[in-house]
């Protein structure tokens, strides 16, 4: 019995590759996921980005992020496949379910503590937008890309 876990797969496609190749790679990944009874939760294409350093001869690449739920064997197979694919210049698989769960728990704990303290003080459990401190605004914009990750 294999456990279902959530993984994040990021791969960088070589800048010489066409749009079609990128689409093909995506369907390839999708097929492997289906073959191993996993699910492809989310796909994000960041488009072309400059690399922080050269990989081989490439100075830029197309980033694709896929969120996959499935067994470890599935990710092993994807890893193997991407390793032998020339169009992919770099890839990374990270298991995220534990980290997200911890983050989620911390967030709800904090919310509960806040609500408890606020009701003890006779305030409504949720802070009003007008109560927020000024520095929160700056941070909120910073947080944008992070927010959907944690909420899942």
């Amino acid at each position: 019995m294999t456990q279902t876990r959530q993984y994040e797969l990021v791969y960088i496609v070589s800048p010489d590759a066409s749009e079609q190749t990128i689409a093909e790679l995506h369907t390839q990944v999708e097929q492997i996921v289906h073959r191993f009874n996993g699910t492809l939760d989310k796909t994000e294409n960041w488009g072309r980005r400059k690399l922080a350093y050269e990989i081989g001869k490439a100075r830029e690449g197309t980033y694709v992020v896929e969120t996959i739920s499935g067994a470890g064997e599935l990710m092993k197979e994807i890893d193997r496949r991407l390793r032998v694919t020339d169009a992919v210049i770099r890839h990374l698989i990270v298991r995220v379910d534990d980290d997200l769960r911890v983050a989620d728990r911390r967030r709800s704990e904090r919310k509960a503590t806040q609500a408890r303290r606020r009701t003890a003080r006779g305030l409504p459990p949720e802070p009003l937008p007008s109560e927020r401190r000024g520095d929160r605004d700056v941070m909120d914009s910073d947080d944008m890309s992070l927010e959907p990750e944690v909420q899942r």
């Binding site: 990989i55 770099r90 990374l92 990270v94 911890v102 904090r110 947080d143 890309s145 992070l146």
Partner: protein
């Protein structure tokens, strides 16, 4: 009053610490500010390795990871930051070294 005290003990303890350090500041001549962990202050639970904007403040020009004693990050978040930075490096989002 006592009820209120017990409710906020955890946070109150921390605040006392901060005040103590603040008081130390002018002593010794040079300016050193005890910094608060950014991730604790901003309540960032998950340090996302894909979020370059979050990580760059902790990477000085040379490309190394800023030590805790300078950035003021707490031990827990510095560990998480370490892994996030090394993942971002593998993905060429952040340089390993910059000359």
């Amino acid at each position: 009053m006592s009820g209120e005290r017990s409710g906020g003990r955890g946070r109150g303890g921390k605040k006392d610490d901060k005040d103590k350090n603040k008081g130390e500041r002018p002593r010794g001549g040079f300016f050193r500010r005890r910094r608060v962990c950014k991730f604790c202050a901003d309540k960032i639970d998950y340090i996302n390795y894909k979020d370059v904007r979050l990580l760059t403040p902790f990477i000085p020009e040379r490309g190394k990871i800023q030590p805790r004693r300078i950035s003021g990050t707490c031990a827990k978040h510095q560990r998480a930051l370490q892994t996030a930075i090394s993942r971002a490096r593998q993905l060429a989002l952040i340089p390993y070294v910059t000359e």
